[in-house]
């Protein structure tokens, strides 16, 4: 038996993405070439851009294809910071939160260490909600120093959704650009870039069922971040290098399908997720649903099992063919406490005792039932092993 409930790490390849990829790979041409071969692959690339733009409510010219979420976040954070800092050297503050992904926080820390930036982290509540009152106060008191604000749309661990419209509304009072890491959001909740008021947004293909290695930075047409790469000037000068039209085609096809069936899937995920949480809580009353009571994604269940090391739980579930996730692992493979839970004020012990179960387009009711019975079965053993 094999049960995959770790869609937030990467989601199974959609058949439409594979077909689009195969078909594009069979087509020869550099999209920048002016001859007929080049024009054919350019068309594939631009069709993909249309599909991705439509999937996230952006204009087609706002979609810049690149390798994925990490690159998009680096380009956005550094590119916006440099542009803003160039225009006004007093703007050194980057506002974000400790609950963000490392792919977002680490570029900011790099700017702090190398470029004199200042990171201000907004407080997160115990349930994962970001304190937007603190954001309002910060904009009020230090608005003229803020280079940019970056807050993720949907938290990849807890599933908590941030009110992006509210963030951009507050930022607009001082004309501050806002970026959002929407990697976990695309295809799982409705997102509309134009309506959001964002200046830039990161998205990634493999979270919606395309292969790994393709993503996009969505950037407003009237904002021009400083580019990380220099070369042929492709993709609005923001991503020099021959465009990967084949992966873009797969991304476009996957994003289109994911959004088309989103509403139906959300309803199904809610049923599954609620069943999963209620049955686990009934069997293990001390378990804590971290984001209970917040506005959160339907496909995400994030649960602390007090006193149970995530590694023991993951091991025992894996032995039963069930793939779920905990905090992030270091390169050597050691699970550390979740930095997201630590930022939410949980103890290091609880932050090392959580499981993230994320559902997706291939999830069935029998997957959920298998998970519930396995969690109930292994919990006492994992608890005993964790006492050692």
């Amino acid at each position: 038996m094999s049960v995959f409930l770790d869609h937030a790490s990467t989601s199974p390849l959609r058949a439409v993405a594979r077909e689009a990829l195969d078909s594009a790979l069979a087509t020869l041409g550099n999209p920048s070439s002016v001859h007929a071969h080049g024009q054919r692959t350019r068309e594939i690339l631009e069709d993909a851009r249309d599909q991705v733009a439509a999937a996230c409510g952006a204009n087609r010219s706002e979609v810049v294809f690149l390798s994925g979420g990490t690159e998009a976040n680096n380009q956005a954070i550094k590119g916006i910071y440099w542009r803003r800092n160039q225009a006004d050297p007093n703007r050194k503050v980057i506002v974000s939160a400790g609950t963000e992904h490392h792919a977002l926080i680490d570029p900011i820390i790099w700017l702090v260490q190398h470029e004199g930036a200042e990171l201000v982290e907004l407080p997160a509540a115990r349930n994962g909600e970001i304190d937007l009152g603190a954001l309002a106060a910060l904009i009020e008191s230090r608005g003229d120093e803020i280079a940019l604000i970056s807050l993720m749309w949907l938290n990849n661990e807890t599933g908590v959704i941030t009110d992006i419209a509210k963030v951009t509304q507050l930022a607009a009072t001082k004309d501050i650009p806002v970026h959002s890491d929407a990697v976990a959001a695309l295809g799982h909740i409705p997102i509309d870039f134009v309506a959001s008021g964002l200046t830039a947004m990161s998205i990634s293909g493999h979270k919606v069922g395309s292969p790994i290695g393709i993503g996009a930075l969505v950037v407003r047409r009237d904002f021009n971040p400083v580019s990380l790469l220099h070369g042929g000037g492709q993709e609005r000068g923001l991503r020099s290098g021959t465009m990967n039209y084949a992966l873009a085609a797969a991304f476009g096809a996957a994003a289109k399908e994911a959004v088309a069936e989103l509403e139906e899937r959300q309803a199904r995920m809610r049923l599954y997720r609620d069943k999963l949480e209620s049955e686990i809580l009934a069997a293990i009353p001390e378990a804590i649903v971290t984001a209970a009571g917040t506005t959160r994604a339907e496909h995400n269940a994030h649960i602390i099992f007090p006193g149970v090391g995530s590694d023991s739980m993951l091991f025992l579930l894996d032995q039963r063919g069930i793939s779920v996730s905990a905090g992030s692992a270091c390169q050597a493979g050691v699970l550390g406490p979740s930095h997201v839970l630590l930022a939410m004020g949980h103890s290091p012990e609880d932050a090392s005792s959580c499981l993230r179960m994320t559902l997706g387009h291939t999830t069935t009711e029998s997957d959920i039932e298998a998970l519930i019975s396995a969690v109930k079965e292994v919990h006492p053993q994992a608890l005993a092993a964790s006492r050692i």
């Binding site: 023991s312 032995q319 050597a332 092993a385």
Partner: protein
Amino acid sequence: MRVLAAMSGGVDSAVAAARAVDAGHEVVGVHLALSRMPGTLRTGSRGCCTIEDSMDAQRAAKKLDIPFYVWDFSERFKQEVVDDFVSEYRAGRTPNPCMRCNERIKFAALLERGLALGFDAVCTGHYASIVKDSQGQLELHRSLDMAKDQSYVLGVLTQDQLRHSMFPLGAAASKELVRKEAQDRGLSVANKPDSYDICFIPEGDTREWLRDFIPTEPGAIVDESGAKLGEHDGHVGFTIGQRKGLRIGRPAADGKPRYVLEIRPKTSEVVVGPEASLEVEEIAGSRFSWCGSKPQGIEDGLECEVQVRAHGESLPATATLKDKELVIRLNAPLFGVAPGQTAVIYEGTRVLGQTTIDRTERKSVASVG
């Protein structure tokens, strides 16, 4: 049996795991993360739980087609092994961290956790053999290849631990053959160099490493009569029997080399003297354990052999258990043995037990550590 194979990323543990698979056991590979910074890359010839070691272990496990995990024991390792290592040196003693790791981590924390998670045994790449006697009791013996024998560092194991241990390399004829076997099995670690250093001291310089933990207090180098011969910049890292690096200007009256005889942490004095003063006739310790069942006749004195370091020779002796102390009287004097070291006693190839040395007795002068 369900077997947990501890895989360091080296060739021995990989071949041991492979043999356990061949024997028909259900094997799961586990790499122990022992460093506090498991993300670091290897710098010297060696480094425990670096990314490379973890990846090497994972590659070997995948070659054997067994599940693989990294388990974090860094907190326990720091408390039980590293902190103990530092405090032993601070007290002027010479600890063996590998034995401590076997005692507290591999065959304690890892084994207990394995048992709790449904495993029956821990398998390692140690060169040693487990033999069942006629009563069904288990005995630990030296490996077939005496040059690689590691029974000394396993001397701390108890009957219960032996019951849940597996050393498939005990019967290996030589390290070369183990490497050949690894090669034949397509294991990429076949030619990985052996590790000799202490895993958490990557540069291999214990004295230098200890400086970060123990403030160095300069003190006097004195002879046995107490006369000052020179100065040192800290007693930490001196070892009984050490000859080099004493930096005493004047030669000894007899012109012969001088050795560290004793370390006095309280006064930060290092006592040096002639080789003859290193002669030890008796060693004793109150912290001892039996590797298997308690040897018969130990209260009345048992003829045996004793080994005091991992790659040392074993010497004939008589071991007696009296007043809750294991006293080992050597047939011929032993040179340069320090409190803190472990004495393992053998009967032929069989490990009888071990004690951490608390005191050593010379012919005339007693040295209490």
